[in-house]
């Protein structure tokens, strides 16, 4: 139910990893509800943040600020200049208002379900079910806390995220993804019809989990695609189901509510993994006190820091840190040489070849060139191996050389791509396809729909 019969209302339906090539092209005919929203509104590929990764991207989408301004560069971030590793970004890392904070300041009610960057749940004018970074439902995962029991009852046991993802039991994993998406939309329907709200946001992680686990089955361009395998149509069937859930959710919304469907980034086939720290060792830039006995994360490797110039952290993109005198405890790079050493390293990374001797096409980015401000502790270099066709492997001792194609460091079906999706329909939202949409446009657009002003420093444009 809405909080006012006359006030404007806005709904954000987030599809983590929603990919334009799938939603707007390959499966467009399988998604009549989304296609109808497109016909009625403005839509197109949505340029993500740098890096295109869920936590910084959703934080940026709903604050209108860059990862640099937020000081959040990934799921985990450096906490100091020591070598002790990285700590998770949580809701408490966010020191700027997001759309629901601004709505609350204006006396407007919000309902939030699964929006990344909301664990631990915080006080909101309305209610909140926290995100996939909730450790379990044993922790407080709602605001108010009492909502947790209702969520458990309505859902029959709330699924925070897919578990056991690396299992060989693909059928079980697939079923979990389908069930989680169904449950998210069922909960959103329930809260939409039982709570007062002006702004409602629900984010489903299902597309991301499906893409990481099953992309090769549906994409003929993936190097490990096998036509006719049992999961060849799984992604199509998932999007058909998602579209039905979307239709059921839209049915319960007030006619006047504006609807924004958005994703934080897209997906693309992953060619393999590049062993970043293994390469730094071979280049003489990372010195080990002892070789690893087997696959070893960099945080647990025995590193001789006094002989190390740089080290890296892996994941869907690479982060490189220089070991700088006066900054790191055993820094070796004189501060006066920082720019030169970093530039040389960037050049080497850009010049890397793939396993067949062809240029990888790596992109190496400097944080201060990407962001208007660099808060917190940013990596010295951000690396997209093969323009994100390759993942960055931070672990050492894999015994596979510089390139890995096996699945022992995580799923290798899909990596992230730099464009997600946006479809927005409602009063003042129209114009059809656009090619210039940015993730920074989402917050100002939602705020405009809700009759709220812009917050300080916010980027992007109002599309309404």
């Amino acid at each position: 139910m809405a909080s006012s019969a006359t006030a404007s209302r806005a709904v954000l339906i987030g599809l983590d990893c929603g990919t334009p090539e799938l939603l707007f092209e390959r499966y467009a005919d399988d998604m009549p509800t989304l296609s109808d929203l497109r016909r009625r509104g403005v839509w197109g590929p949505l340029k993500s943040t740098e890096p295109p990764l869920s936590i910084p991207a959703w934080l940026s989408m709903l604050s209108g600020l860059t990862p640099g301004e937020l000081g959040v560069y990934g799921f985990r971030n450096r906490t100091d200049h020591g070598y002790g590793g990285l700590a998770f970004a949580t809701s408490r890392s966010v020191r700027v208002p997001r759309v629901w904070d601004l709505a609350g300041q204006a006396g407007r009610e919000s309902v939030l379900v699964g929006v990344p960057g909301t664990y631990p749940p915080s006080a909101v004018r309305g209610c909140m079910v926290s995100c996939f970074m909730t450790p379990s439902t044993d922790a407080q995962f709602t605001f108010p806390a009492a909502l947790g029991e209702e969520v458990q009852r309505v859902t029959g046991g709330y699924t925070i995220d897919v578990t056991g993802f690396r299992s060989d039991d693909k059928a079980r994993v697939a079923q979990q993804v389908f069930d989680m998406t169904e449950q998210r939309f069922a909960l959103a329907r329930h809260l939409a019809t039982t709570r007062e709200w002006d702004f409602l946001a629900v984010v489903d992680m299902g597309p991301d989990r499906l893409h990481h686990g099953f992309w090769r089955h549906c994409d003929p361009s993936h190097p490990r695609h096998r036509p006719g395998d049992p999961y060849e149509h799984l992604v199509r069937d998932y999007y058909r189901a998602l579209d039905r859930h979307l239709a059921g959710f839209l049915e319960v919304l007030p006619d006047a509510a504006a609807v924004v469907v958005a994703s934080d980034h897209g997906a693309r086939p992953m060619m393999g993994g590049f062993c970043l720290n293994e390469w730094l060792v071979r280049e003489g830039l990372l010195r080990l006190a002892a070789p690893p006995a087997g696959p070893t994360p960099i945080a647990r490797a025995r590193v001789d820091w006094s002989g190390t110039t740089a080290w890296g952290d892996g994941g869907f993109y690479g982060r490189v840190f220089l070991n700088v005198e006066g900054r790191e405890p055993q820094g070796t790079v004189p501060a006066r040489d920082y720019a030169r050493v970093r530039e040389q390293l960037a050049g080497k990374l850009e010049a890397l070849a793939d396993h067949q001797g062809r240029p990888m096409g790596n992109r190496v980015l400097y944080p201060e060139a990407l962001y208007p401000e660099v808060q917190g502790l940013a990596p010295d270099l951000i690396v997209y191996f093969g323009g994100l066709a390759w993942r960055a492997v931070g672990s050492l001792g894999l015994g596979q050389g510089l390139y890995t194609f096996e699945n022992d460091t995580g799923p290798d079906d899909a990596n992230h791509s730099e464009h997600g999706v946006l479809v927005a329909a409602g009063d003042g939202l129209g114009g059809g396809r656009r090619e210039d949409l940015s993730i920074y446009d989402v917050a100002p657009t939602l705020q405009s729909l809700l009759g709220l002003g812009r917050s300080a420093g916010q980027r992007g444009r109002e599309l309404a």
Binding site: G71, F75, F88, R92, R95, P97, V162
Partner: protein, 48 residues
């Protein structure tokens, strides 16, 4: 740039504020909870 606090901490969007500190927040998770989240994200390929 001007940066405000959140409603929860009493800030206003137009208030100047301290630069955002590093994102460490050890209080958000117990050790066991952090391990649980890390294992889940590692299996998905987000951490390495």
């Amino acid at each position: 740039m001007s940066r405000g606090g959140t409603p929860a901490d009493g800030g206003r969007p137009d208030e100047p504020a301290e630069p955002v500190p590093p994102v460490a927040d050890e209080e958000a998770y117990s050790v066991e909870e952090e391990d649980e989240v890390a294992a889940r994200l590692e299996a998905l390929g987000y951490l390495d």
